[in-house]
């Protein structure tokens, strides 16, 4: 029998208005304990205002072996970066 607690991925919202960001992982028997543990492990220094936890087993990942076909084609398409436009001053921060 497997005795190890399942692994959880932890996402923290740093402040209101920002996205939750992946900060790491931890072990816990269920979601409630995972949130408590995340609070203690990852927010000791005022890092966050909200915590999400997701069972690591529920995350589907891209194939590292397919890196070239997935990401290589975008390398030479600099025109996809919106850095060629002049943004008027009064638009403010984008």
């Amino acid at each position: 029998m497997k005795k190890e607690w399942p692994l959880w991925e932890v996402f923290i919202r740093g402040q209101h208005g920002l996205n939750h960001r992946h900060v790491g992982s931890l072990h816990a028997p269920d979601a409630e304990m995972a949130i408590k543990n995340a609070r203690d492990v990852y927010t000791r220094r005022k890092e966050g205002v909200s915590i999400w936890v997701v069972p690591s087993a529920q995350i589907s990942a891209s194939d590292p072996g397919a890196k070239d076909s997935l990401f290589e084609p975008s390398m030479d398409k600099i025109y996809r970066h919106p850095s060629f436009y002049d943004i008027p001053e009064d638009v403010g921060k984008m």
Binding site: L26, H27, A28, K36, N37, R39, D40, V41, R44
Partner: protein
């Protein structure tokens, strides 16, 4: 000294503040003994956080105690240079950690009391006490959330975890009565509107404890016998050993800093 102190004799207030500060200092030191020894990494960090919260609370209470005493002693002198008979913590706080279950049960029984007492202290007529209680109350609420949850999980867990939690409860129960004893110091504090009479917190405490224990499938001993003495300086043998370790550095190298 004027200001808020004229509501009550300063020696009474000093004694009462030592009871608050010493209880969280001694409990905080006990919990810190788990550092590096917890069953899993996540619990190790969580327990260290709780210990640091408690020691932070002790600093606030003991700093104020030193100020009220007016003899030039600060938090450090009070924590590190008093002997066991000068400590005023409840006996429950100094009980050895035992296994993880016993540590959590001790924590739960004190957290429940802390939450109730700090809530009342937030409306103390002394704004310094009210300010400490407001800060410590938020920490205590999380401690209780955590310890109650774990008492339920372990009590209503495997046969072994259940047995360990029931053993812990049986061993610690007779130390809970001291939390609610009320003497002339408590009366004076209560009369001055500075703090609740501890006896008045008993029924709410019992209610929370009963609910959690029921969910944890644990049974409190049917006994009202209470070990007393900690609040007046008569301690179990355990406190001396704890202080020997906690105070070693300042005793061996007086005035050492880093």
């Amino acid at each position: 000294m004027g200001g808020s102190n004229d509501k009550i004799a300063s020696d009474i207030l000093f004694e009462w503040l030592l009871r608050r500060g010493d209880t969280v200092l001694v409990l905080g030191h006990r919990v810190s003994e788990w550092c590096g020894h917890s069953p899993v990494l996540e619990e190790d960090i969580a327990l260290a956080n709780v210990a640091l919260d408690l020691i932070g609370q002790a600093r606030m209470w003991l700093s104020l105690a030193g100020e009220v005493e007016g003899k030039g002693r600060g938090e450090n002198e009070l924590a590190y240079l008093r002997d066991a008979w000068d400590f005023r913590n409840v006996l429950l706080a100094e009980q050895p950690n035992g296994d993880f279950g016993k540590t959590l049960m001790r924590q739960f029984l004190i957290d429940t009391f802390q939450v109730l007492q700090l809530k009342e202290l937030e409306t103390s007529a002394d704004p310094r006490i009210a300010a400490i209680a407001a800060k410590a109350g938020k920490e205590a609420a999380y401690h209780l959330d955590r310890s109650a949850d774990l008492v339920i999980r372990l009590g209503d867990g495997t046969p072994e975890s259940h047995r360990r939690m029931q053993d812990a409860l049986d061993q610690l129960w007779s130390y809970t009565g001291e939390l609610f004893t009320s003497d002339e110091i408590d009366q004076a504090m209560s009369d001055a509107g500075l703090a609740p009479d501890p006896a008045s917190l008993k029924s709410e405490w019992q209610k929370t404890v009963d609910e959690v224990l029921a969910e944890a499938t644990l049974t409190a001993p049917d006994s009202a016998f209470a070990h007393l003495g900690g609040l007046t300086g008569r301690h179990s043998e355990h406190l001396g050993h704890l202080l020997a370790e906690m105070q070693f550095l300042q005793r061996a190298y007086p005035g050492a800093t880093w």
